[in-house]
Symmetry: C3
Subunit: 300 residues, 3 copies
């Protein structure tokens, strides 16, 4: 059954968690409206209401998704005046992103090549094949657009429906482009040399990703094998020496490292241990300072 | 490959959690016996042994499932005298529910339109295409009917096998209809006006669903925009004012709300925060009292 | 669409957890390179870096997997000198196991019938249909072989690609066969009768599996219905009486039992409660001693 043509899929991300049936119900709605279309879960443990964390996760996923539709729901404003949107992207990968217009989707659209077109969704969900008649549905609250609006829209789009069926095109400039506080870019600190960047992600393994690329480390003279001093000004202030390496196993037990992670960003890491534990549990958004270590090169 | 005909699926719910391989093994058994049939996970984080919580979750899922078979396993009595059953439903949606006869399935069957037929499963699991020969299997314990009995039966039924192949028909009246203590319906309290209803569900977001519909609120004069006093008699007794709204975002920060949730039931909720935290962590089954607030209408 | 031929699948196990997007990205890579091939998650909550726990989980899964490829990633040494391998198995079930050469895969290969052939993977990942062009990919770190190497290899193998395309055959004797400390087999203790065996698994329900089969219990005279004394020498030393039964429901509330679990191994269990809680939270690897109880047979 395999061919060389990509098979469109729905890529699904949310803050629904897995304790409840929210994810399963959305899968069921997708299945009944777009039977046979693969649905790939990108993750459902985005912290509740944390639009910025969801947006970051989508950006990290972007390079690895094939053609299809992204269905993303982190939606504290569900039922309020916030708009529901479908955003068409430029370039390869998924061609449509569907979800609330609250800053969740635009960063991913940009990572995929940019916004081609934006459609504000009509409140009445689309109908389609495989749908169950649901006369009782009208009595239900307006608190689950993932189920009632975004999943049906994603199903229509992945089947190739024209977007005019779903809502009205709007100026992409009107889309909400970012969630919460703007991400502060990495910057040089004075007196230098040194850099300062916010924590962007702490993963299951305790690796601490920061908003900086390896070029920033190069610029302050922390080459491969060099030592640096890592400081979280806090409060409380925490500090630890680190060594720039390529992979976790280059580090000794109990040693902190700086490496390029699988997203191409800088991360603080330990070998078979949690860098977050090592550094006193930093949080996303907290500032990290990195400076070359006075004591020079690491011993071979 | 899409057509207008619904594609039968297996909908799978359990208390297996995801730390172990139980869910994966059941998926593998379903795949080998019914290859190509979609399997949709409704949820596997039902608290261990909590048949009533599993039954509630199935009822909430019922309106959103398409044709196929529900495989549900919350089964503290596995291997004991409790029967395994397949229940045929009346109406649209899934046509068969498979699992232990312990009160897990009947509430969902009723939500789907009622019980058409009940079959008590034979202990020897059915065989079918794709099965691996397992001579060692006989040495294993009788503690995993999800794998050894219910999944094979679900696979046969979703492929259209006749139920006579799987066991003997019994009088549906003999089925266990409810788990644990009966759910207490909402009721008016005296002196009124006021209502009293048990907590039925606390979701990931801390929303507190109660066993009452919006009509009960109407009856005690708590209309949209009106204020109410919510009391959990405890012990300890906890109390907080609340406002009836439509969606989370109608609420101010730190304010408690009463709204119709996505199941059409009443829920206590906050805006971008946990109502369960707000109200001192109530538990499922605990009583909630709601009365109109003496102080009258909310400010505009 | 169902036939009698098994449909090859990819069976996926890791220590990635579900808080991040790692699992979703691997699914996406598999989908784009082997569209239409079912991917079955065996579990992703293996404790971080715990190769031995992952190996045990794979062994327990082995009897229930159908033809296809196992993709297993518990890989603390990613990017280091450790080899990536594809192991061809003898017998039925999955024909290839793909992952790091760190002891994760060989125990499962043996459980499936033995190693037929071993291939050390080339660092450059294979290409195939459905792949996205990723010029930016070269800038990313070498810390995610699950995405960059093992998933692409698993996709090629499940599509029937010749292993020569993926790397060079090596002597299976060179494979790392076990992770961490060797598992100690159950043994008789003196003065007897009694047996001693390590804890191998504590599941979600608190059942404590030990590295012994029911024959060991038979040999020390603990037949069905007999009582035994279970001791964890610790420190701290913990001890409790237990009764040998067939299923959980044979036990009284608060009683500890010994039964044959769904893997065919001995387990300590309680009825609708956690044996791990009952016994003071033992850990995997801890020794359990079992001796016939002086007080003889259990009351009827």
């Amino acid at each position: 059954v395999q061919t060389d043509d990509p098979v469109p899929a729905v890529f699904f991300l949310s803050d629904f968690g897995t304790a409840d049936e929210f994810v399963g119900i959305v899968h069921s709605v997708l299945h009944s409206r777009a039977p046979g279309v693969p649905v790939i879960d990108l993750g459902h443990e985005v912290p509740p209401y944390d639009v910025a964390a969801g947006a970051s996760m989508l950006v990290r996923c972007a390079p690895y998704l094939s053609p299809g539709v992204v269905l993303a729901v982190v939606d504290p404003g569900v039922g309020s005046g916030r708009r529901g949107v479908a955003i068409e992207t430029i370039g390869t990968g998924p061609s449509w992103l569907v979800g609330p217009d609250n800053g969740l989707l635009v960063p991913m659209a940009r990572a995929l090549g940019g916004v081609q077109r934006a459609v504000v969704l009509r409140r009445s969900p689309p109908t389609g094949s495989g749908e169950r008649t649901e006369s009782a549905g009208e009595a239900r609250g307006r608190t689950f657009d993932g189920r009632d609006l975004f999943a049906p829209v994603a199903a229509r789009l992945v089947l190739g429906a024209p977007p005019e069926e779903l809502g009205d095109e709007v100026d992409p400039e009107t889309l909400v482009t970012a969630a919460g506080t703007a991400v502060i870019a990495a910057r040089d600190v004075t007196p230098g040399p040194g850099l300062e960047a916010p924590v962007t992600w702490i993963d299951r393994f305790g690796n601490i990703q920061i908003e900086a690329g390896p070029d920033m480390l190069d610029r302050i003279g922390v080459d491969r094998g060099s030592r640096a001093l890592v400081t979280l000004p806090g409060p409380p202030c925490r500090s630890a020496p680190a060594r720039r390496v390529d992979v976790f196993d280059d580090l000794d037990a109990g040693e902190l490292g700086l490496l390029v992670d699988s997203s191409g960003r800088l991360a603080l890491a330990c070998c078979r241990a949690s860098a977050a534990d090592h550094l006193g549990s930093p949080v996303v958004g907290e500032t990290v300072r990195i400076a070359p270590d006075e004591q020079g090169e690491a011993p071979a």
